[in-house]
Amino acid sequence: MEHYWQEISALTMRWVRRLSREKFSMLFTLVQPMLFWLIFFGNLFQRAADTQVMQAPNYISFLAAGVVIMTVLNNGLAGGVDLLFDKENGFLERLMSTPIHRTSVILSRFIFVMGITSMQVLVILGVSYLFGVHPATGILGVATILLIGMMFGVGLTAISMAMAFSVKSHGDFFSVLGFLSLPMIFLSSALVPLTAMPGWMSFLAQFNPMTWAIDAVRPLILSGWTEALPHVGMVILVMLVFDALCLYGGAKAFRRAMG
């Protein structure tokens, strides 16, 4: 147990070090989602968006929940990239030839991705706060948002790692990534509520776990506990199933790749 912890903290430290050495990338990672989506998109569509349809005082406050979950999505789906590079340049092999627990590398990656994602979510909520979006459910609501984000993120990171271990080349990895992420965003309630979508889109969006996450986060920000609680309960159930499936798939891919 003590060994396990020693391994995981050293491996997690490595991810942190790498990120801190890539100053530009770090800045980009932290700033990009809020800059691009929240500020540009939020203000750009301010006029176009119909507050009646959005059920929100303005588009930014509507969009905040979507941006939070989109950030979770992007970080999660990209969570396996570093392992992919490790696999390709032989570093993973070096790590796995040491007497570490077979799950340490993966667990360290989960910890790192979840940590970065939480920080970004807090930054997004902070910036929204400056734009006048004050979470209706307070600190506890923010904690709940983080929990939902983490639950979604774990499954996504597992998918990403499973892909990293299974793909033959990293071109494949990035094609699948690009193929997954945009439809996930557009077929969800991130940018417009389901009620404002064409019928077939809102139908498909119901099967997107991202929709469930956003529909729980949004009332936590906009309305308050009474409205949010049923959604929160529901999303936790959905995410438990989602995570179980993704982790199962991830474990299989990992076992196949690592013997």
Partner: protein
Amino acid sequence: MDRTIAIDVSHLCKTYDSHHAVNDLSFQVYAGEIFGLLGPNGAGKSTTLRTLITLLHPTSGTATVMGHDTVREADTVRTLIGYVPQERAIDRFLTGREHLQLLGALYHLTTDEATKRINELLKLVDLEDHADRPAKTYSGGMKRKLDIACGLLPNPKILFLDEPTLGLDVQSRLRIWEYVRMLKARGMTVVMTTNYLDEADQLCDRLAIIDGGKIKTLGSPIELKIALGGDIVSLTLKELDRIPSLETELKGRPAIKSVRTTTKGLDIRVESPEKALPAILEAANRLGCSIEFIQYNRPRLDDVFIAHTGRAITESIPETESAS
């Protein structure tokens, strides 16, 4: 001589979608020796090594390291070995010292223990002055040295080196040979792969020549050369049309084991040059062949390689593309 067996490989096969990367390999490595796997690109050297370090499961057959099965007792095996991969497995963003610290934690060393060993190793591989620079600023040779330091960090019983000197300049190669000999002197068992004949010849106590996933021959460099039988006298003749007649004349003579025509003359394998040389010269004289050049060679490892694989080690270019 009765020696402790450090590694025992028995009927090892590894198949990738019906392609036999390694096909029925059996050999033993003795404790304390430098054992080499010599072969061209794609021969199956790295695959064999990866199996021994527990990263690949054999399709069939078994391998044990210090008596521990590489599949069933993989955890135990991992505590006994150090590994230096063929690719530079370096994280560009970490410094040399950070690489070693990371591995120190993965081998469960205490901080004190790790610090002490890391300083020793940095000194050994001559990287002290560069230990705190990110590895992306290292030259190829420095990366290789860091690789080796990483392999040595656990103070392993057995060190696996996959092509340790590939792409290094002559000086760095000699340096690494020196390390390896020193490690052996300290009692470490070293298993290395190489496709340099001189490296195998000078460094390895025993070696296996492998090609197409199979062992072609195995023994110490000297044994292998002796087994070829005899030294080689190479003649270059002035008149090339006299070659066949000289060949028939020499064949079957006492002290001459075999005669082979080359582009410019003959390669004559002889039992002892003292007896053979006069006979050869006398025969050439009698047939009126003027000799342009005469050369006498002990068999080299190149000859061993050619004899067992039917080609020179450098003639394997077509395989390179398919090998990863």
